[in-house]
Point group: C2
Amino acid sequence: MTKLFADKLRKVEPYVPGEQSKNKNIIKLNANENPYPPSPKAMEAIKNITDLNKYPNSSASDLVEALEKYYGVEKGEVFVGNGSDDVIALCYLAFFNSQKPILFPDITYSFYPVWCGLFNVPYKTKAVTKDFLIDPKDYYEENGGVILPNPNAPTGISEGKDFIKDILDHNKDSIVIIDEAYVDFGGYSSVELIKEYDNLVVTQTFSKSRSLAGLRIGTAIANKDLISLLNAVKNCYNSYTLDSVAIAAGKAAVEDDTYFKDCLKKVINTRERFSKDLKALGFTVYPSHSNFVFATRDDIKAKDLFEALKKDDIFIRYFNLPRIDNHLRITIGTDEEMDILTEHIKKYIKNM
Amino acid sequence: MTKLFADKLRKVEPYVPGEQSKNKNIIKLNANENPYPPSPKAMEAIKNITDLNKYPNSSASDLVEALEKYYGVEKGEVFVGNGSDDVIALCYLAFFNSQKPILFPDITYSFYPVWCGLFNVPYKTKAVTKDFLIDPKDYYEENGGVILPNPNAPTGISEGKDFIKDILDHNKDSIVIIDEAYVDFGGYSSVELIKEYDNLVVTQTFSKSRSLAGLRIGTAIANKDLISLLNAVKNCYNSYTLDSVAIAAGKAAVEDDTYFKDCLKKVINTRERFSKDLKALGFTVYPSHSNFVFATRDDIKAKDLFEALKKDDIFIRYFNLPRIDNHLRITIGTDEEMDILTEHIKKYIKNM
């Protein structure tokens, strides 16, 4: 741009989400969406919505109260936002305000450096091991904050309580955000640690385990001081981030625990079955506690397989990034979808 | 807070929205909400929603296309966000990046300085005249950007094409945001000027004229380069700000122009009727092109009247701010609601 005002415009490098297609007949395994619909009670809440001419409750209190009960935490320890991306962006604004770099792994959710760019937060990445494991010692050094997904993405690998406590114990003067987007699929949740650690913020989302990607609901759990600051920062950005439909449907989804657990069980069963199938086809498949698997086979070019599947209307995720450019991230769909995918991969291998 | 990490936390001064009450029987005239429900077609779209387990279309293209058609602009000239607060916050991030102060009136939407605080944008306010008019000459000086509501809030006063062109002509090296939250109630819209001025960004909202405050939809209209940057910044913050329900209902609302115009007419008629009633009671009422009126009476303490009405479950807006602390901002409700309010004011005056 050669405009007169060009020097006042921001230079940015946006995050690139999984591809979308208007073709409804594709098998979409590239955005870690849940293959099952949301709780029927959530859908019922949407149909019964009224008063849309009025602003939503600005603290989304119906949803927040349902979540406080669900997590077994106290009033004031839960924050909700417009998807966990909104929640994490607000956490960056609220908690990462020193000149010191924040730390996160080199292989992780690719949005972390994007927020650093947007908000001018310095950062350093820490290389995961060759097996894609995070070494807690890498996070002992002085920093402006720490953010880690657990389970990690796009690897699906989960760490336990001791690992998280180790990081927290070595970062008493920084905020540590544990991004638990995928935790419901079998990972360890550190929500229980917020009482013990005043520097811990746990974030979760309704987009994966609760089948509500279309409604944009994310949550943060932490001690009252941090949640209170997060609310203040939210109120400096947008007074009403969550709409009335999301508040009502989110509440109904949280309260329908039977449906929730049932969906989780189905996804986990399919993941285990599909992982076995992929291994039988010669792939290395990392132990996943999420709703996707991360896989590679030395003699298959990941990018080529990804492109071949796309031609057949099967969308999985390929990252053209250092260290993982021969790996594929595959979301767990229904058994039927995974069987179709397995057949396509078999055919691809046969024709190599 | 005496925490070890206290120096990494942000210090903020949040915006305070109009009070909310869980009591459904109040007369709520404090948040400039529309008294009429959204288009029945929007409600129908909500009832028919499916696929909430999938992410929304990240560019909200169904809604964007409906708006391009409605505004009569080209593809790529419309941006949508999670309410106009989200849209304006993203505009600050995208367009206000110099060390020079941005300019806005001293009496205006009180969120403008809050975003400056959040994003460290320097600013200068320009005093409106004693009749609350904006003097365009105040905006001739070098600056980092300009933001003006037209109609202005909380005064409701609207300016015309020459005024806007004057500001734009004197700010060719800055982005000028015209915040048209209330324009549909009879103000002049500068959307037609985006072809002529590449430094103009117009923002609007579905929260007032389209009766969809509960769904959080805001929009920006500008030339393609600016909209493209706004999308890039949005994609650095949150890939999916608008949920699937808002996209579908927003589209249906835009397409139901008859219902829209009919509601506008009703609100405007009530505003004129109520303004006359208030004047008859001795109030100075500023000429409003919005869905609220701004009024004062020298011998009535605005705060006392505000408190008295609240006791009677009638909520209007009082700002404890310099220059306007003896004024009241009253949202236009239904004729019936305004008549009840008028009766209460009459009674208050009688008992003075």
